[in-house]
Symmetry: C2
Subunit: 104 residues, 2 copies
Amino acid sequence: MAGMVVIYKQPADVNAFDKHYFGTHIPLAKKIPGLRKYEVSRGPITTVAGPSDIYLIGVLHFDDLDAMKKGMASPEGKAAGADRRLYAPDESGIQMFLFDSREV
Amino acid sequence: MAGMVVIYKQPADVNAFDKHYFGTHIPLAKKIPGLRKYEVSRGPITTVAGPSDIYLIGVLHFDDLDAMKKGMASPEGKAAGADRRLYAPDESGIQMFLFDSREV
C-alpha cells in the first residue's frame, strides 16, 4: 500500500475549514482514480505529552506509489489539489507526506 | 479505528536507527495489547513539492482511543515507549500524533 498523510494545523476559522473540507474537499478527493480508502481524524489530536497544535489529519490510501502519482496527476487529482489551496492556502500550516508502506 | 502516527526525521546514523527500529522496537511494539496493525513506510518519503527531511513513518492502529491508551499504559506499551527514547532520544526529531479516525 501507499499512504498520503496530510496534517493540518489549527485553522484560523474552524467553521469555514470544516465546511470546505467536509462539504467540498472530501467529495472532490474521493473521485481521484485509484483511491482505495480515505480516513479522517475525528476529535482532538494529541501527542504523548498532551494536546497538539494539529487540527485534522487525513490519510489517503492507494495500492502503491505509482497509483498515487497517477491519481494525483489526473484531472480529479489536480482538482483536489487546487481545492486544498483554497481552504488551506498557507503552506506553513500543512504537512503532507507520501510514502510506500508495508505491514510489519 | 484509532491511529498513532509517528514521524521520524532523518537520523544522524541511519544504520544504527534501522538496526534498533527493525530489530528491537518493532518486536517490542508488536507485543502491545490491542495493537491491530502496524505499518511502516518503505523507501523515501516525499512531499508534493519534492523530498522531505523525514526518514520513516510508523502507523499503529487500535480499535479506538481507549484501547490505544490502555495498550500504551500496559507494561508492553511502556517498554516500547522507553525503547523509543533509546534510538530516538531527541524529541525535536519526532512527531507523534494520536487520534480517532473514521473512513469517509
